[in-house]
Symmetry: C2
């Protein structure tokens, strides 16, 4: 890996050194018709989501999203209104999160393809990787999970940029990732990169009213953040207590849902009856 690459492939975004004191973050996402969306969904929502997913990746690194470039492949028969609405959605997300759309490319394609690349910036000390979780860390999530696809919530993600910034500026966050593939699959990325295990508390995982525990574990596309933080003084906003009501800061909520452990490796769930069971590795398969 070249010396100016702090983190390459294998996290929510790449982290590279540039001129100046900040780190440059880079992420990219491709959405394909009939795989990630259909033209029956509102074009504006698809545009919003295309940019918001990338913003969520930057947030999960402890960064502030800055500049986006967008490529769109569209069939020549598509109505120009559809493309305009798509851009309107991208621009709306850009306005809300302070992202400038600075470039793009429109090409012909049989199926619609939307590709967004986004830069972010972060102070070097604020960058949070997946690989920093430590035994004893409390695991938190920034909001309710589950049933995002069926409920339609997946079309209007609200990336947790402000939450992540509050966290990195006030606490030593050891690891962080956003929930795109489901709590189980995404937390597992942290465990694998950090070489640790985790025990989640089934009763502590915050669920949307229309969701069950399995939805939270396996559905994905919630775009909440999972993060871990040490339990020492000033290290953990929850003072080491991993059960109980969520922490609040203004309108932000942080739900403690479990602990990082050294042994056993793997992802476990403490059921309401006290039994601890292994969580199966399933969830949304991109490919």
């Amino acid at each position: 890996m070249p010396p100016d690459v702090v983190q390459g492939i294998g996290d929510d975004a790449a982290v590279v050194k540039i001129d100046g004191k900040k780190r440059l973050l880079l992420t990219i996402d491709m959405l394909v018709e009939n795989v990630h969306f259909t033209t029956k969904m509102p074009a504006k929502a698809i545009g919003w989501k295309a940019l918001a997913c990338n913003i969520s990746d930057i947030a999960a690194m402890g960064g502030i999203p800055k500049f986006a470039v967008v490529s769109i492949g569209v069939p020549s028969k598509i109505h120009v209104t559809w493309v305009k609405d798509l851009y309107r959605g991208i621009e709306a997300a850009g306005r809300k999160f302070g992202v400038a759309i600075v470039g793009g490319d429109t090409v012909q394609s049989e199926k619609i393809v939307i590709n967004v690349a986004l830069t972010g910036e972060a102070d070097a000390k604020d960058v949070v990787l997946r690989s920093g979780a430590k035994p004893g860390d409390v695991i938190f999530v920034t909001g309710k999970l589950g049933n995002s696809l069926k409920s339609g919530r997946h079309l209007k993600p609200n990336p947790r940029v402000a939450e992540a910034q509050y966290l990195v500026k006030h606490f030593k966050i050891h690891s962080m990732i956003d929930v795109s593939d489901g709590l189980a699959a995404d937390l597992r990325h942290i465990l694998e990169k950090s070489n640790v295990g985790a025990v989640l508390d089934a009763e502590a995982i915050p669920l949307h009213p229309d969701a069950k525990l399995d939805n939270a574990l396996y559905d994905g596309e919630d775009y909440e953040l999972i993060f871990t933080v040490g339990a020492g003084p000033r290290a953990c906003p929850h003072r080491g207590e991993h059960r109980g009501s969520p922490l609040q800061h203004g309108r932000m909520k942080f739900f403690p849902i479990g602990l990082i452990v050294n042994n056993p490796r793997g992802l476990f769930l403490r059921k309401p009856d006290g039994r601890i069971v292994k969580i199966k590795p399933k969830g949304y398969q991109h490919f």
Copy 2:
């Protein structure tokens, strides 16, 4: 346009201000199967081209290419060797031009889609836009043009990064663009953004042995650079003389092919018999 955006949509790459003294450049390109390439072409060449086109965009801004993120959409039935060869081509171009591939996304897609986003950096004073051409400027091109598609040269573009760096460090380059759509279409972008006209000298345009003048004007995908430079002392490497043999610096060649004029507006060609004719606006239509 936000204050940190120096140049948004409408040039080879976006130019933004970041922490530090340098400018960040951003460009993106999407290549779609059966529109920009077919699977009958060698995968490695397609990969090389996908990154090289973006590198050419950064070169045309006066920048040095740095970090790339790559998304690929592929059908599930595709052979893994094809995808590996594609990446091998991307990596080969990266190695040659000092670009680190720092992230990516692989998704399912009916047709193959390759999207490369590339960052570059440039000293603020070295950034060259399309909009700076001035009447009296000599128009140069960095190499031979024409017949890139039929000859297969379009699959092995050699972006002119070193040439552009030599130019911006030694001369005051007023405007620059790379030849992707053909000399006529790309020079016309400079004319429109700069609000000037141009007269090209038919006999001065350097052609590949297998190309005719029309190929140079309309074929595209040569990935040479067109640039304009003032004719004052130290301003123009050619001392105001727009006809004659190319300038050389080491292995680099710069061919003077015409002049920027105030009147008439539009793009004109001086034929070998001395007649000046208007060049028709045609060429490769992306969409």
